[in-house]
Amino acid sequence: YNSSLTKPPPAKYGGRHTVTLIPGDGIGPELLTHVRELFRFCCVPVDFEIVSIDSKSTSDDDMNNAITAIRRNGVALKGNIETNHNLPPSHISRNNILRTSLDLYANVIHCQTLPGVRTRHRDVDIIIIRENTEGEYSSLEHENVPGVVECLKIITRKKSLRIAEYAFNAARQNGRRRVTAVHKANIMKLGDGLFLQCCKEVAAGYPEITFDSMIVDNTTMQLVSKPQQFDVMVMPNLYGSVISNVCAGLVGGPGLVPGANYGKDYAVFETATRNTGKSIANKNIANPTATLLASCLMLDHLRLHGYASMIRKAILATVSETRLHTADLGGQGTTSEVVQSVMREIESKGPRTSEQI
C-alpha cells in the first residue's frame, strides 16, 4: 500500500529512526513487546520511545506527553487504550484525543483475503478510507432538558474534501479503479449530502477512476453477500467504524488486519479494529498478525521497504500454516509460536547484506 500524502520523518544520524510506542491496554503491551523482539532479531534500524498511556492514566499531562512525543518522532505504533464508558462525558476516549490532536484525518484499512485463512468469501480486496476526526466523533453532546440529550454530528466541507482527495489519490497511486462513497444522505440530507457533494467534486479531478455511492445499510447487505464488488470505499467516521469492522470480519477477524492513521505530518499505526482484547490478555493466545503487519506498514512509511517486505513475507507464510493458527482462526497455536515461526521464516531466507535491505 502506497501513501504519499504524509511525509515521513527523516532518519536520524546513523540512519536510525525513533518511533513512539504506546502499549495501551489488554493485548497491546504483549504484542508490541513481540514487535520489539522481532525488530531486534531483524536488526531493524528503529528505536522505540515507550510512552505509557493506558486506562490507568488519569492526568492530562500523560496525554500531552504522548502527543508531544509523537509530534517529535512523527510516527507511532500503538495498542488500543481502553475507554471506561461509565465515566462522565468529560473523560473523552484517549484514542480519540490522539487522533484529533494530531489531526490524523485518514484511517486507512486494507482488507484482503489471506491464503491459508478459511473465510466464507473469497477474493476480497477492499481499501477503506475513513474520515477520522469529525462526524459523529466530535464529542459534542449536551442535555439542555433533563432526559433529552443532543449529540452533534459535524460534517465540514474542508474535511470532506480532504478525505475525498486522500481516497482518490490513494486509488490512483495504487492502481485502483473505483471509489465508492458510503453515506446516508437520503436521511441526513445536509450533513451526508455535503460529504457526498465533496466526493463528487474531487472525483471530477480523477476521470480515470469510476466514482459511485451507496447508502450505508445497503452497503453492509452487499458486503455480506458480494464483497468482491467493492474496490476503494470512502466514508465519514461512524460508517467507517461499521464498514471496517464488517470487512475485517469478512477476511478473518480482528487478529489479522492492520490499520493506519495518516495526517499531514504524523502517522500512527495500530490494528484495524482497535480492540483491547481484555479477556485474552496475557494468556499467550492473542493473534499477533495484525500488530506485526501494522509494524510493517510503519516500516514502509519510514521508507524501510526492504525490512517491511522481508517481515511481511514471513508473516504471510506463517499465517498460511494452519497448524500455527491461533484461537481466533480456529486453531490452538500460541502467540509466541507465531512470532517464532516468523523469525524462523526470516532466518531461513539467509543473511542479508545492507544493500539487499
Binding site: 462525558p89 459523529e136 433529552v148 443532543e150 445536509l190 453492509t220 458486503l223 461512524l238 461499521v242 477477524g253
Partner: protein, 330 residues
Amino acid sequence: SSGDGIGPEISTAVMKIFEAAKAPIQWEERNVTAIKGPGGKWMIPTEAKDSMDKSKIGLKGPLKTPIAAGHPSMNLLLRKTFDLYANVRPCVSIEGYKTPYTDVDLVTIRENTEGEYSGIEHVIVDGVVQSIKLITEEASQRIAEYAFEYARNNQRASVTAVHKANIMRMSDGLFLRKCREVAENFKDIKFTEMYLDTVCLNMVQDPTQFDVLVMPNLYGDILSDLCAGLIGGLGVTPSGNIGANGVAIFESVHGTAPDIAGKDLANPTALLLSAVMMLRHMGLHGQAKKIETACFDTIRDKKVLTKDLGGNSKCSEFTGEICRRVQDME
C-alpha cells in the same frame, strides 16, 4: 395496504395462502398513499387511519415515495401517524435458500422515532453542517421495555444493547442506562452490552452468537439490513412495526420492483413471513407455524421457486404450491 408495484400481486398471494390455511383473518383493504388534508398538511387518508385505529393490526406492501417536491416519505408519515416506535426484524436462515451464513436466528429491535433520524440539521456557517442525534430517556425506556417483553413472549434467552457509549458518552450512555434499568425487571432474560463495531465484527464471523439485539435508530437501520443480508436479503426478510396504543403494522421492506410489476414474477415470501409475524403477534401461533412451514418446505424442496430464489416459476405457481402444502396439513 397492498402498496405499489408488485404490492398488489404479493398481497393477493398472501390472502390466498391465508384462505387456504383457514386463518381467522378478515382483510380490510385501505390505501395509505398520502393525501393533502385540510390546511395543506400531508396525511394518511382518514378511512385508512380509522380502519387501523379500530383493528389495530395492519399488513403493508411496498410503497413508492414520489420524488415530487415537498412530498413526505410514506414510511415516515405512517410512523408519525401511529407512533410506530419499534421496528422488529427476526432474521432466521431459510433452509433451501443458501447463503454463506447458516443457523442465523436473531432479532433486531430498532428504536424508530428518534436518534440520528431526528431530521434536525443546520448549516452553522458555509461549509459546516451540524446534524443532531436526539436520545431521550422516554424513548430509550420504551424500546428497552419492548425488547425485553418481546424476548420473554418469544422465549428468547438474551437481549444485547448495541451502543457506542465510549464515543457518544451522553447520548448512547443514556440509552445504555435505560436498558440496564429495564433489565433489572427482567431477571429471567440475560442482558449484555456490546459496542456497535464489535457487533459488526462478530456478526459477520459468527452470527449464531446473537439473540435479541436492541439499539437506537441508525445502528438499528444498519444492523437490520446487515442481518437481512446474512439470510438472503430483503426479498425474504419479514418486518414488524410496533406502535403506541396496541397498533402494529407488518410489512415487507423490499422495493416496489416496477420492472416486474404485474408480470406474475414477484416473490411473496417477505410479505408472507411478515404476515406470519403478524399472526404470532396476535397469538395465532398454530396458524403461523402452519403457513411458515409450508413456505419453508416449498423453498427447501426447490421444485417451485420464483426467479429471485433461483427457480423458474411464476408467483402464482409458488403461491399455489404453498397453498397445496397448507391444505395437506389439515
